[in-house]
């Protein structure tokens, strides 16, 4: 059974159909890339899955459980995390605190325990802190040490993107939806992050579904590629298959390009 299964998904905004008759699935342990020209509905798809928008028609299943109608925090609790296209960190919280918040749904100290500072509370706090630092260590030395206590707004752009991913990891997910993880990064940062995405799956067993525009990244790490255009799936397969698909080329470059290619 697929880990994430989308059946006949449909979403309209007023008169605009953002997603139409979409079927897709992601199996456990896969890295699936979703590509497509701007406005194809990719981020909308993620927003629907993670519960930010309600669905018009169709079904979304995660590990057999229906995602339709869930609040975003319930989706995250099920083990499905996501990052955002425009990095939205908590700018005035420290780097470490940003990741500590991510563990909110995995921990349970309430008000009474916090006030009374029971040993269970202190134990849990220490665990949260340690786990946050462990997750941040995934990125080498970039986000550790003195960085732990720095407010997030001082980070460079690339570091912010890394923190964004670290936060998603902090929720202890089974699967992460990455929305354009390498946008705005230079080539060396991109290469490094591509490797890290692979590591996420290989070492931590996290299934990945990512939206990407950078074909190097897509080619470098995806098991499968899905291409959307105008809210519909127009191609699916390995990178090679999709990259040479006529419809895909036409979607990106227009009809003349297809004619020229043939």
């Amino acid at each position: 059974m697929a880990l994430l299964e989308i059946n006949q998904l449909r979403k309209t905004f007023g008169g605009l159909t953002a997603i139409e008759g979409l079927d897709l699935h992601v199996d456990k342990g896969e890295i699936v890339s979703i590509i497509g020209p701007n406005g194809a509905g990719k981020t909308t798809l993620f927003n629907l899955i993670s519960g930010l928008f309600p669905v018009d028609e169709g079904e979304m299943l995660f590990g057999g459980q229906s995602l339709n109608g869930l609040f975003p925090n319930q989706v995250t609790e099920l083990g499905l995390a996501r990052t955002f296209q425009n990095v939205r960190l908590f700018p005035n919280m420290t780097v470490r605190e940003n990741v500590m918040v991510a563990q909110h749904c995995r921990t349970k100290s309430g008000i009474f325990r916090s006030i009374l500072r029971t040993s269970k509370f202190r134990h849990e706090e220490a665990e949260i802190k340690a786990r946050a630092e462990e997750v941040l260590g995934f990125f080498g030395s970039r986000l550790v040490g003195y960085r732990f206590d720095q407010p997030a707004f001082v980070l460079s752009y690339a570091n912010r993107r890394r923190l964004e991913i670290a936060r998603a990891m902090g929720t202890d997910p089974t699967m992460i939806l990455l929305d354009e993880p390498t946008a705005g990064m230079n080539p060396s940062e991109t290469t490094e992050l591509t490797g890290l995405i692979g590591q996420l799956r290989d070492d931590h067993g996290i299934t990945i579904c990512m939206i990407e525009h950078d074909m190097q990244v897509v080619r470098g790490v995806s098991d499968r590629v899905i291409c959307l255009d105008y809210g519909r799936k127009i191609a699916e397969g390995t990178y090679q298959e999709v990259a040479t698909n006529e419809q895909v080329i036409e979607a990106y470059l227009g009809r003349k390009a297809t004619d020229a290619a043939s």
Partner: protein
């Protein structure tokens, strides 16, 4: 008197760019003067100047009324003479006599404008409209002299005040803070003469009272000088080497730190015990009310400061606490009279408050900030109207309220008098402060921060918005209900009109002016906002005027409060901080760059 102009050359790091030209616009100074004049007219027409004349600050020549009056040209002289901002990489503009001239002009124009209300007050009777434009006011403005002489003196006085205000800009920075602090302390001591006298008497230092204060009220000139010199020198010394107590505390090792903590706690306990004893009954009464408001401020601080929910109807929880206490403990409670003791009733009181917190919080959970503010305001008013109504009369007493609320007792000791009440109040304040701190540094505190900074993202990250926001309301309500319970027991009766929106606003002003999210700030805020008007009766009449003005001023100048928490400063000045962040951020080490070798792409 123009300075020589030199166009600055492109500066390299380390270069000293030439002095920027100091262009002081004298016409603009005159305009400032006009605005100043209007302000001074306003201050006089409102009645502050004559009313405040009764309190002498420095005997025999400075009363509060004249201080307030001349503060206007002082402030506008300061504004008129302010040099342009020094930006990154620029040399500061050199200030000189021309700035003082600008201040003097502003001051003089202020004085000139004041001629108008004075003449009007003397010659016309507009008192059916402007109730304070009386000959008495004119008399104050003309400094008690005849019209011509008085007006002249007034104008000269304003000119001098304006020049002094400008002088603040001219005094070298090294001396500026000590001088200003010294002056501020002199005025404060003069203002708080009653407090100071009481303190000295309580510490058995009666003799000193005569040294500092004149028999008719106000500081003696000698006393003023002593205070100024003392503060000036202390400030000068500590400016060089700030003590950095917090850092030194954290640098100690475990056992040392524990020892000092115990000493600190013991010292605090002793001081707290002694406060009502030393300060006497009158001051204790004031401090009691300050403490009650401080309790509420700590609660509201959690709702607004931590969770970011602008609750303007906080008084509702205060009312619930007070009324529940009344109903459960008083023999005069109309419907049911269980007549529990204060402490036995307290759990039920808190429970009722928690319930009302849920009641208020649930409808507003998904509302955006300003709508939430208005709705909670509405709830606050609904609560008051309901407690006042005939409908609720059978249980809550309607307009007559509930009386005969017994005093609490600890063991055999009954707590009756203001000094005695101080102790349970201060204990609960400490408890509330601890609760604030504990929650701030916990899982729920982080969740609140996250919600305040970016709610949709917090939700996407797994934070349950519903429980988090409701928790904030519940804790806030619980703390307010403590305050309400104490209030009810202390006064001995509850009446619906004690629970109007002004209470919510006062608490709001406290945390905004004092500093949100910050315990010291809130305490200072409570002392100033709630304590001062009780200590200085003249201010009582102008309370809300001053609160309103303070709110506006703080929002424009320093929205994070007088003693802000560092986080809050960062949040509110984020754009400025963000721009400069690269200056203070540590550079990524070259090691990081070296690590990133172009990996072979997976094929």
């Amino acid at each position: 008197m123009a300075q020589t102009t030199k166009t600055p050359t492109a500066a390299r790091p380390g270069d000293l760019a030439p002095m920027r030209q100091n262009f002081v616009d004298l016409v603009k100074a005159a305009k400032w003067g006009v605005v100043g004049g209007a302000t001074a007219t306003f201050v006089s027409a409102i009645g502050m100047v004559p009313d405040f004349d009764g309190r002498t600050l420095i005997d025999p020549f400075l009363t509060l009324g004249y201080l307030v009056l001349f503060l206007v040209p002082f402030a506008f002289g300061y504004m008129a003479a302010r040099p342009p901002l020094t930006l990154e990489g620029q040399e500061p503009v050199r200030v000189g006599p021309r700035n003082v001239l600008a201040g003097a002009i502003a001051g003089m124009v202020t004085g000139l404008v004041l001629i108008v209300p004075t003449l009007v007050a003397v010659n016309f009777n507009l008192r059916s409209v402007f109730v304070n434009l009386s000959p008495a006011m004119a008399d104050t403005l003309t400094l008690g002299q005849s019209l011509g002489v008085g007006l002249l003196l007034l104008i000269v006085g304003c000119l001098v005040a304006g020049a002094m205000g400008a002088g603040v800009n001219v005094v070298p920075a090294r001396w500026r803070v000590p001088v200003m602090t010294g002056l501020l302390w002199v005025l404060t001591v003069g203002l708080l003469e009653d407090l100071a006298t009481q303190l000295l008497r309580g510490l058995n230092l009666d003799a000193l009272v005569g040294v500092f204060f004149a028999p008719g009220g106000g500081l003696k000139p000698l006393g003023a000088i002593i205070v100024f010199v003392l503060v000036f020198s202390l400030q000068l010394v500590f400016q060089r080497r700030p003590p950095r107590l917090k850092a030194r505390y954290q640098a100690l090792d475990q056992s040392e730190r524990r020892r000092w903590t115990i000493i600190l706690i013991a010292a605090t306990a002793v001081i707290v015990y002694l406060i009502p004893v030393v300060l006497g009954g009158f001051m204790s009464e004031i401090l009691d009310l300050v403490g009650i408001y401080l309790l509420m401020a700590l609660g509201l601080n959690i709702v607004i400061g931590f969770a970011g929910l602008l609750d303007l109807g906080y008084v509702a929880f205060f009312a619930v606490g007070a009324y529940m206490t009344a109903v459960l403990t008083s023999s005069g409670s109309p419907a049911l009279s269980p007549e529990l003791t204060f402490w036995a009733a307290l759990p039920f009181v808190v429970l009722a408050a928690a319930l009302s917190g849920v009641l208020v919080g649930t409808p507003v959970l998904r509302m955006r900030g300003d709508y939430l503010a208005i709705v909670t305001l509405g709830f606050g008013e609904i609560a008051r109207i309901l407690f006042l109504s005939d409908w609720f009369d059978p249980v809550f007493g309607g307009a007559q309220g509930i009386t005969q609320i017994p005093s609490p007792s600890i063991g055999p000791l009954e707590i009756n008098t203001p000094p005695q009440f101080f102790y349970p109040i201060i204990v609960l304040v400490f408890v509330a402060a601890y609760i604030s701190w504990a929650l701030a540094n916990s899982r729920i505190g982080r969740a609140w921060n996250a919600i305040r900074e970016d709610e949709p993202i917090a939700e996407a990250l797994g934070v349950n918005i519903v429980t988090a926001k409701l928790s904030a309301f519940v804790v806030g309500a619980a703390l307010a209900s403590f305050a309400g319970a104490l209030f009810a027991s202390k006064i001995g009766a509850v009446f619906p009109n004690s629970f109007s929106i002004v209470v919510s606003i006062i608490v709001l002003v406290i945390i905004i002016v004092g500093g949100m999210g910050n315990l010291a700030g809130v305490a200072v805020g409570a002392l100033v906002i709630q304590g001062l008007p009780q200590l200085l009766r003249e201010f009582d009449e102008y309370r809300f005027l001053l609160y309103g003005g303070l709110l506006i001023f703080m929002m424009l100048a320093k929205p994070e409060g007088i003693i802000p928490s560092r986080r809050r400063v960062a949040e509110l000045h984020q754009e400025e901080m963000g721009q400069d962040a690269w200056l203070t951020a540590e550079p990524e080490s070259e090691l990081d760059e070296a690590r990133t070798t172009p990996a072979t792409a997976k094929d």
